[in-house]
């Protein structure tokens, strides 16, 4: 199957999600990924999103979406309410990533996390040679306008999983529209992880 005009990271996440599963997306934005999952995987989808205008966009797509922030909005779900909890580029923007990840692993049987790799080689070059906070395709914001509160690398996340006994079921590394297999912490712009509690 080929998808025209579908973001490469969305396609990658699509591959990780089983048909007819229940999905909660934290920070679903305008609902593009959730719509894709409903269309292609017939999932039962629920979104959580803080931006009011994004809520209107989601509702226009026929999605179930709750207006609220991730930091407080996740605690209200029962254990294992969803097959997948997805954080697509939202982990960096939440206040307490550790407690949210802990809760996501409680609420979802599996958690899919996708984030921009801060240790991407172009970022490293900008810091090392330019002495500037990096601005790249995956991290496109100036320091004074970025919504990102946390910056992490692929190695950081892997280390986090080891430290917190989170089982990594699958990892995918991408840059632009390519899969990266060699030295991902250097060459991947985005890391996508399928993790669970391994129980």
């Amino acid at each position: 199957m080929t998808y025209v005009n579908v973001r490469f990271d969305h396609k990658a996440i699509l591959k990780l999600v089983k048909r007819q599963s229940a999905v909660l997306e934290l920070g679903c934005g305008a609902g593009d990924l959730l719509s894709l999952l409903i269309k292609e995987r017939s999932v039962r989808g629920q979104g959580l999103e803080i931006d009011e205008q994004a809520i209107y966009a989601c509702v226009a797509k026929g999605l179930n979406v709750i207006h609220g922030d991730i930091d407080s909005g996740l605690a209200e779900y029962e254990d294992k309410s969803f097959d997948y909890v997805i954080l697509n580029q939202s982990l960096q923007q939440i206040k307490h990533p550790d407690s949210v990840l802990t809760d996501a692993l409680r609420v979802g049987r599996k958690v899919i996390i996708s984030f921009s790799n801060f240790a991407y080689y172009k970022s490293r070059l900008q810091i090392f040679f330019g002495g500037r906070t990096p601005v790249t395709g995956a991290l496109p914001y100036q320091w004074y306008e970025t919504p990102n509160l946390h910056f992490l690398s692929i190695t950081d996340f892997i280390e986090y999983c080891r430290l917190k006994n989170v089982r990594m079921e699958r990892r995918m590394y991408i840059s632009e529209d390519k899969r990266i297999r060699l030295l991902p912490n250097l060459f991947a712009q985005t890391g996508i992880f399928l993790v669970d509690r391994g129980l």
């Binding site: 629920q46 809520i55 209107y56 509702v59 979406v65 709750i66 609220g68 209200e76």
Partner: protein, 381 residues
């Protein structure tokens, strides 16, 4: 919001006439039986062959069945006219819209101002205590009568939202969805307190006469003051500032306690005009019904919702301090716990509680798309 601007000139549903449905006997939550109960209602649009396109509009405290179009006598538009009609949120080209008054009211339905068939006199305080659930029961009898098995949605703001929650908890198999707007699972002490001041104002009016004022002078001052308090709670600090500022009225005499400021004049006008259209005893009964309402009366809301296929759209407004957003979030929390499909939006509005009657563009966007999805799912189920 990037939605189509609603054209005010666009044709609504035109002139409408109230209809009446009579229930022989209605057993109330109190155990009392109310005989010959009349319910006033209006309908807009056409019921489709499979009866899958019916929507129930539920009004607030002082509302009535006249939600849309122009009434036959005064040609006044309905209280939610901008939401109901061809091409509007409740698109009458697609949906059959039912708007029902509540029992206990005074707008054509049986209430304390009605004649008690047992005595031939006005009920006054002999009218039994009614609850929000009793009101919903009577409305359920109406849709039985209309032959509708399942409503697409039960929707309303404020008390209408409580009615929608009552439908959701008690008749979940009779609705595909519920849309509670600017409402609460139960009243907070603050909400009860404001209602109590309103009731005390009515009862302190010497014309109230323990409820026996029919045929004599009305407790007009008391009811007007109750309404004035109500209006303060329906607005916000900001909406009052925008609407009135400290603007003085013309032609007032200073230091004579006349309505010096615009806001005073507005409240007096609102209070006085309310007296002409609303029964003081109904105000007592209905506010008491709201105070007594508790959607968790029997069990936690999430348990009542567990396993339901009903979808829920909850709407709150940022500046609403009478029904603050945290109360809507309580509903959302129960929905989350129960795992039912939920949409929630806290609309950024400065209108206060009145926003549910005024933020038409946002409500139209949310409701029209939500209903479209619900209707599609019903049709393909």
């Amino acid at each position: 919001m990037k939605t189509k601007k609603i054209d005010k000139r666009e044709e609504g549903v035109g002139v409408v006439e109230a209809q009446y449905f009579t229930i022989d006997s209605l057993t109330l939550e109190s155990g009392e039986k109310l005989k010959h109960v009349t319910l006033a209602y209006e309908t807009y649009g056409t019921l489709n062959e499979n009866k899958t396109n019916a929507v129930m509009i539920l009004h607030a405290l002082s509302g009535d069945a006249h939600a849309a179009g122009l009434d036959i006598e005064q040609k006044n538009p309905g209280w939610w006219d901008s939401m109901i009609g061809p091409g509007r949120a409740f698109d009458t080209n697609k949906y059959f819209v039912i708007s029902s008054n509540v029992i206990g009211g005074c707008k054509g339905s049986t209430g304390p101002s009605s004649i008690n068939p047992a005595t031939g006199r006005h009920y006054a305080l002999d009218f039994p205590i009614v609850t929000i659930n009793d009101m919903a029961d009577a409305q359920k009898r109406l849709i039985d009568h209309l032959g509708i098995n399942k409503l697409l949605t039960a929707v309303g703001g404020s008390m209408g939202g409580m009615l929608a929650l009552s439908w959701l908890v008690r008749y979940p198999d009779r609705i595909r969805s519920a849309i509670p707007i600017a409402t609460a699972i139960k009243h907070s002490p603050q909400q009860i307190a404001f209602n109590e001041v309103g009731r005390q104002a009515i009862m302190a009016d010497p014309h109230w006469n323990s409820g026996n004022y029919y045929g004599g002078p009305l407790p007009a001052k008391g009811l007007a003051v109750a309404r004035m308090i109500g209006h303060i709670t329906y607005m916000s600090d900001m909406s009052m500032e925008e609407k009135f500022g400290r603007q003085r009225k013309n032609g007032t005499e200073p230091f004579k306690f006349t309505a010096d400021y615009e806001v005073e004049g507005y409240l007096r006008y609102r209070g006085d005009s309310f007296v002409k259209r609303f029964d003081a005893n109904s105000y007592l009964y209905i506010t008491k019904a709201m105070d007594n309402f508790d959607a968790t009366q029997w069990r936690p809301l999430q348990d009542s919702l567990q396993g339901l296929k009903t979808k829920v759209l909850v709407i709150a407004f940022k500046s609403d301090w009478l029904y603050p957003a945290y109360q809507s979030k309580e509903i959302v929390k129960a929905c989350k716990r129960s795992g039912i499909e939920t949409t929630y939006c806290e609309v950024d509005s400065t209108y206060g509680h009145d926003a549910f009657l005024l933020e038409i563009e946002e409500e139209t966007h949310l409701i029209s798309h939500f209903l479209k999805t619900v209707f599609h799912e019903y049709e393909t189920a």
